[in-house]
Subunit: 547 residues, 2 copies
């Protein structure tokens, strides 16, 4: 792998900053008026998803220059390198082959692919066994509930997919426990019967602090309920590479499914980490989920930059981050089942691209990954949309819009769609002072009152947003949607010149955590960190002192 | 009410910007070294909460100047005006008297307070009636489940409080439905029995689109299950001012509890909007929740600026927003029960202070409210903390830390506390290149490998954060915590010179939504909004066309 060029050294970058400056006060409605085909040319389709990016601070010149930037950064070649297993994660000397997990074939990667296929077979075995009621617990009862214990990538992806595909759910209820706060596990177990509960422990190392603590507590819960150590294999599966630690815990090799170092946690829902999803929705649906992602992979590999959804969305991210100094990006799924999508994307994007040195370790002189946040629409309309419309900060938005509902309640769903389109349009058109005044006069306010209140109703408009629409949330479209954001994240990493597949920045906190835990566990003696930490440890001691 | 002065016109503001510039590359550990009492002087306590703000880019001169800014903005006088019922919401000609809802007495506001007391009595009646099993449904079954239907302020507050106080919960399960997406209601009702379910419809106007649509669907569900229209009063309460609309729906006046125009939605959990919480945790606990907030009100009213928690936290918000150009603020509760706190605070802060004109309607030349986001720790450590530690953006953090657990699992909870302290400290101290290199050599890497990898492990540190600690999440501390952020939000509004109690910016989206819904409901004809909206309506039509 040749190193990426830094963004600032790509020839088009300087020109783009000048173009951004010129477009800062652009009137997007005017851009529509000047180009009757804008809705067609600022649109791209792939794998059942349609990206409408016509409502952006973007004209033809800027768009062409952005595409040029993508070509200068060799995005198509980088995509090829990623998908073909090059050592793209250079700081950890590994490829990043999550795409292999959803592939139908893998020329040149036969060894790894054979492991993937074998693991898919084992996932299918467990999913079908549990769904057919063949898995029984220590007392002979059929397993009815599955609890996934994992955190970060071993939690956010499976949780999102299970929740989003609820309309496809079978008879097994899947639950998710992640936080080391014991309340998380305790609340989840409250309604469950140990005799019919199966745990899936997801931890590559089998050493993740939160996951290990929760798994040990779950094991104790199971043993207290009457299971013997020999029964543990009826109630525990593990997704791990550390077979020895799993065996020590009481989980035999037959109950362990592998994960590989060439799959990052935040890209792992396609692997055995997704087993809880496969159980929830059944194997066939899980395969459709993989197929949807594979369709996006194929598009990503072959579409030219100016038609390539992940590349276009990544170029828009750079455009606003580095051309307009936007510090955040908003994702608003207009679908209650996708309510956890922003949480998932926070990890995907911020853990990948929240970096300050290049892949080669050189300090960067420009901003990288923004804060990603959002919530399900219409919830946010009654919360933070006030700031989106009238705040002082640029917040580019992705609206995610399924056009139909699984509920059968089409009349009410129509309102949901109308609200999504209305928010997208309101951000675009805004409201002039004059229009605000007229609207207030029409409500019966006096001239003086209307003049006084109008500035509060006026909105600048020209706030950029995309709409990603598709017919329905299905396993296929959900797979495509997640893969779309994965590749968008990768492309942005390449444009910024960073490695989006490591996360060295989380190491120090773990080390300090171990030190502090050690200090807290000492019966006495004054702790010796910084004065503020020392004082908080003392406060904790006091609060927990025997009465 | 005299208008607020704009931030830029406060004499201390210019000096603060100069001080901020000088402190941009400050070494916070050095500030500790120079002032052995920093942990005591950069600390303030109120109502059971302790704010540690020693880990900030702040020295004594800057702190004094910030306090001066607060005095110039007359924060103590503004607090008095707020609490005593001045017409502080100037664009809507109303006071903002949420503090009255938790008061024990209210000299000068006797009329309003009498209504509050009467309503508290009615809330208590309903909460006790339902908790004692005296409320029965159409078939004579006891009510076991309560579903709150509301959105925004009628949802986020009650949802947070019920979830946070789960250790205090009685026998009634409370559920929350907000989204107009019919999947939200449908999923919630799946596990419920109409015969034992009671709905609380929260809508000041009884016209909120989402709430009305969900309430009508709930009504239909109830009638389809065998209830008659005459039975509706056994299954529906309303929190509303629109008694006529509630009566049309089938809810009699006896079942309607009032809300007043001097309570904003996002400040309404203390009113009858909080009835679901009072039912969930019982009346006595709800009163303790009110008392906790009242204790914070008393502190806010009387503590000098330099000891006043809401004022100090607000001044820190201004410091980073307008001195360091921070565009966001992070809230990390290290408590699973407080997982929804960031969602609640998003509405509270972003709907209040996401404004671009002054209270008098003049355009502002500086930034106002930032994006607020976050999640429960330790979840975020495996997600977005990478960016907090090594990203290119300044993200000031509030850690929220209860020092004890309700679960009895003190060993596991200790890990949670250790993680919180470790993250706070890691943000502070960072890791030098040299230290990173040494740590890699200690792991057995070669000189060349260590030198190559060290820049990826290095972290700048000096990333500002506060720790708000308290003994335990109780009704009292939760009330104090929410009131703290309410007053912080108010103070920031005053410093920016804006009205934090209106939300005119959400009007346009509603109006356009009605227009678009009308177009969608037309059987045919080409819609006529902007071309992008037109095209999306056509796509929606196509997707929903009969096969």
């Amino acid at each position: 792998m040749t190193p990426c060029t830094q963004l600032k050294d790509l020839p088009a970058f300087g020109e783009l900053q000048a173009l951004a400056l010129a477009l800062k006060s652009a009137d997007i409605e005017g851009l529509f008026a000047g180009a009757p085909d804008r809705t067609d040319t600022y649109r791209a389709d792939a794998a059942g998803l349609c990206l409408d990016y016509s409502k952006h601070l973007l004209d033809d010149a800027a768009r062409a220059k952005l595409v040029e930037l993508g070509e200068q950064a060799q995005l198509p070649q980088r995509a090829h390198a990623l998908l073909s297993g090059a050592e793209i994660n250079n700081t950890e000397h590994r490829p990043a082959l999550h795409s292999l997990l959803r592939a139908a074939s893998a020329p040149g990667l036969e060894d790894k692919f054979a492991e993937v296929v074998a693991t898919r077979g084992r996932m299918r075995h467990w999913a079908e066994r549990i769904n057919r009621g063949q898995q029984t617990g220590f007392s002979g009862q059929t397993i009815t509930d599955v609890v996934n214990i994992g955190i970060g990538g071993s939690d956010l992806g499976p949780r999102l997919v299970t929740e989003a595909l609820k309309p496809f759910q079978g008879d097994i209820n899947c639950h998710y426990v992640a936080n080391v706060d014991p309340a998380d596990l305790q609340d989840t177990l409250l309604d469950l019967d140990p005799a019919s509960t199966l745990f899936i422990v997801c931890s590559k190392s089998f050493r993740t602090e939160e996951t290990l603590a929760n798994s040990l507590a779950a094991r104790e819960w199971m043993l207290n309920a009457g299971a013997t150590e020999a029964d543990l294999d009826k109630h525990f599966l593990a997704i791990t590479t550390n077979l020895a630690a799993a065996a020590d815990f009481g989980i035999s090799g037959d109950n362990c499914l592998p994960i590989w170092d060439w799959v990052g946690g935040r890209y792992s829902v396609w692997s055995a980490v997704g087993l809880s999803c496969a159980i929830a929705v059944g194997w066939d649906h899980f395969e459709q989920f993989l197929d949807g992602a594979a369709a996006m992979d194929a598009h990503f590999a072959s579409a030219p930059v100016d038609q390539n959804l992940p590349m276009l969305m990544s170029l828009l991210e750079i455009w606003y981050c580095n051309g307009f100094a936007a510090g955040n990006h908003v994702v608003l799924p207009y679908d209650q089942g996708l309510a956890k999508l922003p949480d998932f994307l926070q990890q995907l994007t911020m853990e990948s691209n929240g970096k300050r040195v290049s892949a080669e370790g050189a300090p960067l002189s420009y901003d990288t990954g923004p804060v990603l946040w959002g919530s399900a629409g219409t919830m946010g309309q009654h919360s933070f949309h006030q700031l989106l419309h009238q705040g002082t900060r640029l917040c580019p938005v992705d609206f995610i819009l399924p056009l139909t509902t699984h509920t059968g309640m089409t009349g009410q769903h129509r309102r949901l769609v109308a609200n999504c389109l209305a928010q997208s349009r309101a951000l675009l058109v805004g409201r002039s002072l004059e229009d605000a005044r007229a609207s207030l006069l029409a409500r019966g306010l006096s001239d003086a009152e209307a003049a006084h209140l109008a500035p509060h109703l006026a909105m600048p408009g020209n706030r950029p947003n995309s709409v990603i629409s598709f017919t329905a949330v299905t396993p296929h479209t959900l797979g495509a949607l997640i893969a779309l954001y994965e590749h968008r994240t990768f492309c942005s990493g390449q444009l910024w010149g960073i490695n989006p597949f490591d996360q060295w920045g989380v190491e120090l906190g773990k080390e300090i955590g171990t030190e502090i835990l050690g200090l807290m566990e000492q019966a006495s003696g004054s702790p010796r960190m910084d004065p503020a930490t020392d004082q908080l440890i003392s406060k904790w001691r006091q609060a927990n002192a025997p009465a």
